[in-house]
């Protein structure tokens, strides 16, 4: 029975995959790191259906991109000890591949290196070199730099995730809304280069300097996601040890298995566009009561707008209709939004969102705009241009009660004309009478 389950599980594992943007991953792995120390993470990715290509930071092949075309769909850079990279790995090349849709999973270093200098271009403020995150809480046998963290749940982190082990540096995320902290530091932790109590003064001096002098408390981030405007994702992880087999197998203080394996899988799944990926399949609009899309709308028309939205399902590698967005909004815009209304899911029709609203009484070229951005989720953007025109000459209401006198006037004039014409044409003296006289 058990073996049957195993076979079934293996089968599910085979079917399971993959990213919505592609399955090839380039891993730039530090010479000082062994692949076998991160086997749970890398084998897990391969088991999901990704094809991994390993490369030392100094190697020149395979290149990240050739002829300005990325060679890989995703790039992992785990090179915290590397100072010099081969010429094709530069902040510029990483940024330009990000611009072409390549997703990046980057491990920050305690030393100054390429990944760290790239991070500061993404509004991440890093502590000075050699100042790792330190926490004396809770009392434990591990060094102060190996920290158990109970993750705060968010869209990526599962609420049931057990505590995880972390060792590395914190970053202060800037206020760039494209940034998205995935794992925050514990409240009692801070960045410090001291290893003995007498090093307390350096912390104070750092704090006195003001600005980002002190990396402390839950405002600093340990795993930070960044989603570019074109939808590519980059994730900075404070320390590569998070993905290690050591931490994945290490038991937490409660004696349970740590959540590192699950968290590293979730972080990779988010970075490689498996999760929280949405798309708009189609949009349509028509007048209330009709079904055809008109070329123009008239002011004050009742307009029905319908959008169909799908979410990527990594388990089946397919897009499935998704009705789970509760705060989608539609704007009807001419320079400024004239109408902004919620676009709510239609019950019983998966993936369909609809709203009916009255067109403004201003004519001009309007746009239906969906601009849905939420941290962690891929963005939804759609814009459809429609003209809104005033009523045609015969589109105004008739038979107005206020115009009755005018109608009667016109009709009575017409009848009068007819009558007088008739009298003039058909009238005359009776012949018999005339002859008599």
């Amino acid at each position: 029975m058990l073996s049957l389950y195993l076979i079934l599980a293996a089968f599910v594992g085979l079917l399971q995959a993959k990213s919505s943007t592609g399955d090839s991953i380039l891993v730039i792995l530090d010479n000082k790191l062994n692949r076998s120390d991160y086997s749970l993470f890398f084998d897990g990715l391969e088991g999901q259906g990704y094809s991994l290509t390993f490369r030392a930071p100094g190697d020149t092949t395979p290149a990240i991109k050739e002829h300005d075309t990325p060679n890989f769909d995703h790039v992992i850079v785990f090179a915290p000890h590397t100072k010099s990279f081969s010429p094709d790995v530069t902040p510029q090349s990483l940024v330009s591949s990000l611009g072409k849709g390549t997703n990046l999973l980057l491990a920050l270093s305690q030393k100054q290196n390429l990944v760290n200098s790239l991070a500061s271009e993404f509004s991440l403020i890093l502590p000075p070199p050699q100042t790792p995150l330190v926490s004396h809480f809770p009392a434990r046998e591990e060094p102060a730099t190996v920290i158990p963290i109970t993750p705060q749940p968010n869209v990526i982190v599962d609420p049931d995730l057990p505590p995880i082990w972390f060792s590395g540096i914190p970053v202060a995320p800037g206020n760039n809304p494209l940034l998205f902290p995935i794992l925050r530091a514990p409240a009692e932790s801070f960045a410090s280069d001291a290893t003995v109590d007498s090093g307390a003064d350096s912390v104070l001096e750092a704090a006195d300097r003001g600005g980002e002098g002190l990396w402390a408390g839950s405002s600093s981030s340990l795993i930070t996601g960044f989603q570019t405007r074109n939808g590519a994702r980059a994730t900075w992880v404070g320390g590569v040890e998070l993905f290690s087999d050591d931490f994945a197998k290490k038991h937490t203080l409660g004696g349970k298995k740590s959540g590192n394996a699950q968290l590293s899988k979730d972080v990779a799944a988010w970075t490689f566009q498996e999760n929280l990926v949405l798309r708009i399949d189609s949009v349509s609009h028509h007048k209330l009561g009709g079904s055809e899309t008109p070329e123009v709308y008239t002011t004050n028309d009742q307009i029905v707008y319908i959008a169909h939205i799908s979410k990527y399902d990594p388990a089946t590698s397919s897009w499935v209709p998704y009705s789970g967005i509760s705060d989608l909004q539609l704007e009807f815009t001419m320079l400024d939004p004239h109408v902004r209304t919620s676009l709510s899911p239609v019950p019983d029709t998966p993936g369909e969102y609809s709203v009916t609203f009255r067109a403004p009484d201003r004519h001009g070229v309007f746009k239906f705009v969906i601009d849905y951005r939420r941290k962690g989720w891929s963005t939804l953007q759609s814009s459809t241009t429609v003209p809104v025109v005033p009523p045609r000459h015969d589109g105004y209401p008739r038979f107005l009660s206020a115009a009755w006198p005018y109608y009667t006037g016109a009709i009575s004039t017409s009848i009068g004309f007819l009558l007088f014409s008739l009298l003039w044409l058909a009238g005359g003296e009776d012949k018999a009478k005339t002859k008599k006289e």
Binding site: E141, F190, W404, S412, L425
Partner: protein, 276 residues
């Protein structure tokens, strides 16, 4: 099975730390900008005192001593942070406190110039102040001190694009008010007024009693019918037709009218001359 392991583990943990840390004579003072003491109390670690309220210019001073065990010698820990936590916004600020080598510490918060690490506050936020003491050689210590109520800070400047990442306020278009129409009764009265000349006309005609002997003359009736058709076409235009259709049908009728009119007018001329 579990408990002996736990005991061993706890014993091990205890052995790695020389001793626990303790907080001696924690005390806070609130003074006004001119130096008057408003409130000065020792901080009870077991029972929280009433919330401390600070004015926009007030100064809060917190003093304490960190010692080894209870009543032991003073020590300087690696970490001595005051944490200000706003449980409404979830934001916290950590302010390091300078502890001397004999464990004595003194912290001053001047609300006129709050430190940059102080969290932004809203008018109804209550900051929970706790003290975090950590050390490489001692067991760490975290104690809740008191609740702090401070004046609201300036709102934090957020990124200009931050608003797009949250639901935005609903916008409803303000439509022009419907045009006012006079009551139907008044319209009816004025329509009646428009029809009034007919009364005069019919009254005068009744005196004259005009005759139409040629009404059904086969040479005249087609023209009167054409004129009637023109009037009907205009009514039809009002109710339904477009201009192009009216011009088309009108042109057709016009050609008919030319012939019927010619015939009718010739006939009328003959009648007038009395040749018939």
């Amino acid at each position: 099975m579990k408990s002996p392991m736990l005991v061993v583990l706890l014993a091990f943990v205890a052995s790695t730390y020389a001793a626990a840390l303790a907080l001696q004579s924690p005390k806070f003072t609130v003074s006004s900008p001119n130096g008057d003491q408003i409130r000065s109390e020792p901080i009870s670690l077991t029972k929280k005192s009433s919330p401390v309220r600070l004015g926009p210019q007030d100064v809060l001073r917190v003093t304490f001593q960190v010692t080894e065990n209870d009543g032991g010698t003073g020590v300087q820990p690696h970490q001595a942070f005051l944490r200000f936590y706003d449980n409404i916004s979830g934001e916290d600020g950590l302010q390091p406190v300078r502890v001397t080598s004999n464990g004595k510490a003194r912290f001053e918060l001047n609300m006129a110039r709050p430190p940059s690490s102080f969290p932004p506050t809203s008018p109804d936020s209550v900051l929970k102040v706790s003290l975090i003491i950590g050390s490489f050689v001692h067991k760490p210590l975290a104690v809740d001190l008191f609740d702090l109520i401070v004046p609201a800070s300036q709102p934090v400047a957020s990124h200009p694009e931050e608003v797009y990442y949250h639901p935005q306020p609903v916008i409803e278009h303000t439509f022009r008010p419907e045009q006012k129409t006079p009551p139907a009764f008044i319209s009816a009265v004025f329509s009646a007024l428009v029809l009034a000349p007919w009364v005069v006309l019919v009254g005068l005609w009744s005196q004259l009693s005009p005759k139409v002997p040629n009404l059904f003359s086969l040479k005249i009736i087609p023209f009167t019918a054409t004129l009637g058709a023109f009037e009907l076409l205009l009514v039809w235009y009002w109710v339904d037709l477009r201009l192009g259709q009216v011009l088309l049908y009108g042109a057709g009728l016009g050609i008919v009218a030319v012939f019927t009119g010619k015939t009718a007018l010739v006939q009328v001329g003959k009648l007038r001359k009395g040749s018939i």
